[in-house]
Subunit: 212 residues, 2 copies
């Protein structure tokens, strides 16, 4: 099998597989079967084989998957076998926290530009990056080769940030602001709000208590 439409859930699971394979690899394991990996991820083994089948044949029948090879294959499939340069728009509390968070670079997402439209912030230096006026995004995106935009503005300014980013030729957007944004069709947007998971947890706890 190869390509066609790939379910969103598959992409999410690939990220999980990657996480677990990484931990296993660090523990010195070399080979794993879909069955064992499935146990570790708490999914169905067929599910794993099917998810991987969208991208190619990475296993060896009768043997299983070579962990390092599989990690490489999944990274390639997701497009994270390379660096991505990012623009961060909105240098507030959250923005600053992300700029300081060096996990970004470790995972291959390198924030190379920090932008804000507040005159008081422009010119200041945050984690080694000078804060630049959002209106200058276009030039910077071109000059620095930025491909991903990270929105960390307050919700009411998220749409404007998105507009600047789109206009500047950015290729995709991660929106941390608690607001939906509208962008032209081809540009993918992902929303991040970990309170959604808190809500889901509150729901599940409440549900099980209601049953009891």
């Amino acid at each position: 099998m190869k390509s066609e439409h790939i379910p969103k859930a598959t992409i999410e699971r690939l990220a999980v597989y990657l996480q677990i394979l990484g931990n296993l690899g660090r523990d010195g394991v070399n080979i794993i079967s879909s069955d064992k990996l499935a146990q570790a991820c708490k999914v169905n083994p067929s599910q794993i084989r099917k998810d991987l089948a969208y991208f190619g044949e990475f296993g060896v029948r009768g043997v299983g998957y070579y962990i390092q090879e599989l990690i490489t294959a999944i990274k390639q499939s997701l497009g994270i076998d390379r660096h991505w340069y990012c623009a961060l728009v909105g240098v507030g509390n959250l923005g600053r926290a992300l700029l300081r968070h060096n996990e970004f670079a470790r995972r291959g997402f390198i924030i190379r530009g920090a932008f804000d439209c507040d005159q008081d912030k422009i010119g200041k230096v945050e984690s080694g990056l000078e804060v630049i006026c959002s209106k200058r995004l276009k030039t910077k995106v071109r000059d620095l080769g930025l491909e991903i935009g990270i929105i960390t503005t307050p919700p009411e300014r998220a749409q404007r940030a998105a507009d600047y980013l789109v206009e500047s030729g950015i290729k995709g957007i991660i929106n941390f602001a608690p607001a939906r944004i509208a962008v032209p069709e081809p540009i993918p947007v992902e929303y991040v709000d970990y309170f959604h998971q808190f809500y889901a947890l509150a729901f599940h706890i409440t549900l099980s208590q209601h049953r009891a």
Copy 2:
């Protein structure tokens, strides 16, 4: 309709509806139809009606939904029409960032205990909370009425943190550590890792470039 099994995707969408309704409410809108809300969320209007139908009848035929009422109804459905007291385990960089992040309290998730097993950290004060030895979780969970555990340890210590939390009688866990954890059946766990969204974005960008 009422209760039965509710899709995970429905819960996620309810959180999105809530976000958008909140923003609309602040803008002074009072009533909205499933059609308009659907446009704002970029989902199918039937989807919205069906999602809500799992929990009750909140709309008025021929009219639409009263926004404030709907917000209340969704919050009740999710179980976030109340406060939740939380225990945070693992006072590293991420843990400290979350402790400082006052959005938690604003959204009704109040972190009332900070725990770590590192002797150097125990006794120190972070954002007004004294860091307590993880082994004392049980007493504190009882005395402070903590219901949700937030794991922010390094991945290799996530399972132990989970074990302490489960033993202490916690009702649910949010795991920020990049590792899967095993807990007894009835206790719900939600995983938070925003790099998954970065991966999804990288994938979509790569895909569309491949097509071009």
